[in-house]
């Protein structure tokens, strides 16, 4: 059973989309499933996940996409670790203080604040844009290039699979999310390097710029940057005095003695730098990472619910299954074609006996008149006759018998019973069954109807009985 708040993961997304390609169930099965999981019905995501779990055994093969995704996540982890180390090394590089030239805080600020801020802005713009704009922006990101190159080498052919599996929008979120993660790791590495250096070394910080910036202006700028934590942590804002002290005129005196004397005071910069890193490079990035993660999850859920086949599933979950067919398979009757066996193609003018099956006497007389057939003995059978009456007629019949039948009324077993009694009578030499059409059609019978009579008579396998087909 699924928990109410279980999230869709990339893995379940892929599993689901692959399962849907192979199996979607029938309306009956799906509706039955939904009725069994009625509590989940209001939540499409949950019931789909439950459905997936129940049917996952139907997926035939181990998915190639899964291994591909695995590769991607390994690659991701690798890049993540790399970012962390790279950040650390970059930090060491930036903060390397040989004892001669002090460390310029402006360099550090560049890496810990300006670049992160810029990249975050680009990230946000590209997130809010779509399609080609996004693609253009993604060219700015080194990650894009790393992946492009790696893709090209390791799984160039499979990249298509990857492309068709996820929507552009989802790929964008995926990409941006990982980008934030890597940047975050980079910044953590940077902060780590700062702390390590501060602990293990004595670093002198200074600032210098070609631009004509006064100490006061620089202080204002730094205080402005440090505004977010200025009130709670005043010691992590460099004082005007410190700024003055650490102003480094590369073109003027070298490290002056005053600076060397105040080396420990100059080191007070680290708190500020650490806070800048923590706030701009780490905290803000973390927020952005959260935001992209949220965006990614939302997109994943949206795509999940838009997978091909989901609409059908949800519809079937929610609409009652109606069936009208018979659950019982019908044993189909084998139908033999009629032949020309036992078929007479002419009618005689005189018969010893005329019998009408389900005809009244008057009807027979009319019929005789129309067809020019005559006989001394005319009887009616079937209809409302009793069996004994019919039996008597069958017994008394002699020589050639013509048996009028309504062609449109197919022969029933009742008729066959009578015919068999007639056949049992040895005085009867020949029986001709004459299927006649309605009076409205001048007794003209339908070919199809006569065929039914032929088949029936042929089925009796008697040489004495014929069907008249004229």
């Amino acid at each position: 059973m699924y928990k109410k708040n279980s999230k869709i993961s990339i893995k379940s997304y892929i599993n689901f989309s692959e399962l849907l390609k192979e199996y979607r169930g029938t309306h009956e099965e799906n509706r039955l499933f939904a009725l069994k999981h009625e509590a989940l019905l209001p939540n499409p995501k949950q019931i789909l996940l439950a459905w997936m779990e129940k049917n996952s055994f139907r997926k035939s093969k181990k998915s190639e996409t899964q291994t591909l995704i695995q590769k991607f996540s390994t690659l991701s982890n690798f890049i993540g670790l790399f970012s962390l180390i790279f950040g650390f090394l970059a930090g060491l590089g930036l903060l390397s203080y040989s004892g001669h030239a002090p460390v310029n805080v402006i360099y550090y600020l560049l890496f810990a604040m300006f670049i992160p801020l810029l990249s975050m802005i680009i990230s946000m713009v590209s997130l809010l844009s779509s399609g080609t704009v996004f693609n253009a922006f993604s060219l700015f990101f080194p990650l894009h290039w790393i992946e492009t190159v790696l893709n090209f080498f390791s799984f160039r052919d499979k990249i298509d699979v990857f492309n068709t599996l996820f929507s552009d929008e989802l790929k964008k979120w995926m990409f941006m999310n990982r980008l934030q993660l890597f940047s975050l790791l980079f910044s953590i590495g940077l902060l780590f390097a700062l702390l390590v250096i501060v602990v293990s070394k004595d670093v002198a910080f200074s600032w210098s710029t070609t631009l004509n910036v006064s100490n006061i202006d620089f202080f204002k700028l730094l205080a402005c940057i440090g505004f977010p934590w200025g009130h709670t942590l005043p010691s992590a804002i460099p004082s005007v005095e410190l700024i003055e002290m650490s102003h480094y005129y590369r073109l003027g005196e070298n490290l002056n003695t005053q600076m060397i004397q105040n080396a420990d005071k100059l080191g007070a910069w680290w708190k500020y730098l650490a806070m800048v890193t923590l706030f701009y490079a780490i905290f803000l990035r973390f927020l952005l990472w959260l935001a992209t993660r949220y965006g990614f999850q939302k997109q994943l859920k949206k795509d999940f619910l838009e997978l091909d086949g989901v609409e059908k599933l949800l519809r079937e979950f929610n609409t009652p299954f109606v069936s009208t067919e018979s659950p019982k398979e019908e044993k189909h009757l084998e139908i033999v074609k009629e032949s020309d066996e036992q078929v007479a193609y002419a009618v005689a003018k005189v018969y010893e006996t005329i019998i009408g099956w389900n005809f009244s006497k008057d009807e027979i007389l009319l019929l005789n008149d129309a067809k020019g057939i005559s006989s001394s003995k005319i009887s009616t059978v079937g209809g409302n006759n009793s069996f004994s009456e019919d039996q008597k007629i069958a017994k008394e019949a002699r020589a050639e018998v013509i048996l009028y039948v309504k062609s449109w009324e197919p022969p029933t077993m009742d008729f066959v019973d009578f015919l068999e009694e007639l056949l049992a009578n040895d005085n009867v030499e020949e029986i001709q069954v004459y299927p006649l059409g309605t009076v409205g059609r001048n007794y003209e019978s339908d070919e199809r109807e006569v065929a039914i009579w032929k088949r029936k008579i042929q089925g009796l396998k008697s040489k004495k009985v014929w069907v008249i087909d004229v």
Binding site: V322, S323, S326, E330, S386, E409, D414
Partner: protein, 471 residues
């Protein structure tokens, strides 16, 4: 699953369709149960055993219909019944039950027992006769037996042949049945189906409510089927019109041979899409055993662009231009302006001034073949999406026509479907206002863009409207 045996004991309306052999009992059941697997045939005695057709909603039976074999030895049955000790009317049913009990192993009465059993288990009687053939007193035997059963009953007049003896039948049947209805299983519309159910609901007070429920269920089902049909047509339209067929090629540029092969497989793919779409429609409407005689969707230059083909399912040149212009497909050509002045001049104007239009409907650029080769080692030839302006209407016209034939087809029909009809005019089914909506989607698909959601919605709505008009 309920077996029909079990369900006999349950308390829902049941109806046994009975009568003389070969009078269309199975046809009526087949059409009412929307089941085309029922065997229907010229041969009397086609149906040999009774068969239940329950209407089930999520497994719960709402009512059940029984198809039964025809009476074979009615006279014998009646004489047996008459030979028993005379009983009062309320006991007559017991005599019929006794008949069944006594003759259960009697080969002669297999058919009668099969048909009497559901009735004696509480099923209402639906007596079917063929009113295109004259009435005969021999029918009274059967009706007399049914009267012995003492169950609520009605008669259905089915007109199988050309003649009509309805009046004769009505006055005879009136003596035995309170209700006589005409129902032609082959031609019956959905509304007639519902009306018949409504009549059945009046047979017994307790049945009225469940049958009303059943009617609602069937109406909902009909709506669902319509909805699914439209969805299916729309998704096939989107799939087909946006379809791009790709193929790897060896050299720098494609050979004519490669191009021809590509075009061929593109066409085959689109034909395949249409076939699948048709099967989908057939299964939505429960027609699973259909044999069709139909012209294939011919997409080669002659077939698709021949005047005949386009005039059956496509739009005329003039309509096409109006449609294209109103949807902005040919923006910048000034046709919008011209239309304001009256379309009388349109033809001549188009002929002379707008060469581009002719080309868009032309015979040669049905599709564009492109070579794609930006990335190293991956040179491809691609064809599609379909550029021809008329193609969507031809495809749509065919789909709508096919779907409407299937939707209206009775499940009692066993013959082939003839889909070659010349009177179907897409132009009349889809007016120019509707086409405006359709064209928006066609335009984006043609460009290879995904159509906007609200445009697709409007598209569906228009299709539904025209589909309903065809039903």
């Amino acid at each position: 699953m309920y077996s029909s045996e079990e369900s006999l004991n349950n308390d829902y309306p049941k109806f046994a369709v009975v009568g003389h052999p070969n009078k269309g009992k199975s046809s009526i059941v087949s059409s009412l149960a929307l089941d085309d697997s029922v065997q229907i045939g010229d041969t009397p005695g086609t149906t040999q055993v009774k068969r239940g057709f329950p209407l089930k909603v999520d497994g719960k039976v709402i009512y059940e219909l029984f198809d039964t074999p025809g009476f074979q030895r009615a006279r014998r049955v009646l004489s047996w019944l008459n030979d028993q000790e005379p009983v009062s009317a309320d006991k007559k049913g017991d005599v019929v039950r006794a008949f069944i009990a006594v003759h259960r192993d009697d080969e002669r009465f297999i058919d009668e027992i099969e048909l009497l059993e559901p009735i004696m288990n509480g099923a209402g009687i639906i007596y079917v006769v063929d009113a295109s053939k004259p009435y005969g007193s021999e029918y009274e035997t059967e009706m007399e037996i049914l009267r012995w059963c003492g169950q609520p009953s009605m008669a259905i007049l089915n007109l199988i042949g050309e003649e009509n003896y309805t009046e004769q039948w009505k006055s005879a049947l009136g003596h035995y049945f309170r209700m006589v209805r005409t129902f032609n299983p082959i031609k019956a519309t959905f509304i007639e189906h519902i009306e018949l159910l409504d009549s059945m609901s009046q047979l017994k007070e307790e049945w009225t409510k469940p049958i009303k429920v059943a009617i609602k269920v069937l109406e909902d089902l009909q709506d669902q089927k319509i909805e699914q049909t439209v969805d299916s047509i729309v998704s096939n339209m989107v799939k087909t019109l946006s379809y791009v067929h790709r193929q790897k090629i060896v050299g720098e540029s494609a050979t004519t041979d490669e191009e021809e092969k590509l075009k061929l497989s593109y066409r085959e793919k689109i034909i395949k899409f249409e076939k699948e779409q048709e099967q989908n429609i057939e299964s939505i409407w429960n027609h699973r055993s259909i044999e069709k005689v139909e012209n294939m969707l011919v997409l080669d230059n002659v077939g698709l662009f021949s005047k005949e083909s386009a005039s059956i399912f496509g739009l005329s040149q003039q309509q096409l231009i109006i449609t294209g212009a109103s949807a902005g497909a040919m923006g910048g050509l000034g046709i919008d302006l011209l239309l304001g002045g009256g379309s009388l001049f349109l033809g001549s104007f188009i002929g002379g001034a707008v060469g581009g239009v002719g080309a868009m409907m032309g015979f040669d650029n049905l599709y564009e073949v492109k070579v794609l080769g930006q990335s190293i080692g991956k040179r491809e030839l691609s064809v599609g999406p379909m550029k021809n302006l008329n193609f969507p209407y031809i495809l749509l016209g065919r789909s709508l026509y096919h779907a409407s034939v299937i939707a209206k087809r009775s499940h009692a029909m066993r013959g082939d479907i003839d889909l070659e009809q010349e009177e179907f005019l897409t132009e009349q089914i889809i007016d120019s206002e509707m086409r405006k909506t359709l064209e928006k989607v066609h335009v984006s698909l043609r460009k290879g863009d995904e159509p906007k959601e609200e445009e697709l919605k409007a598209y569906k709505k228009v299709l539904k409207e025209s589909f309903l008009g065809l039903l």
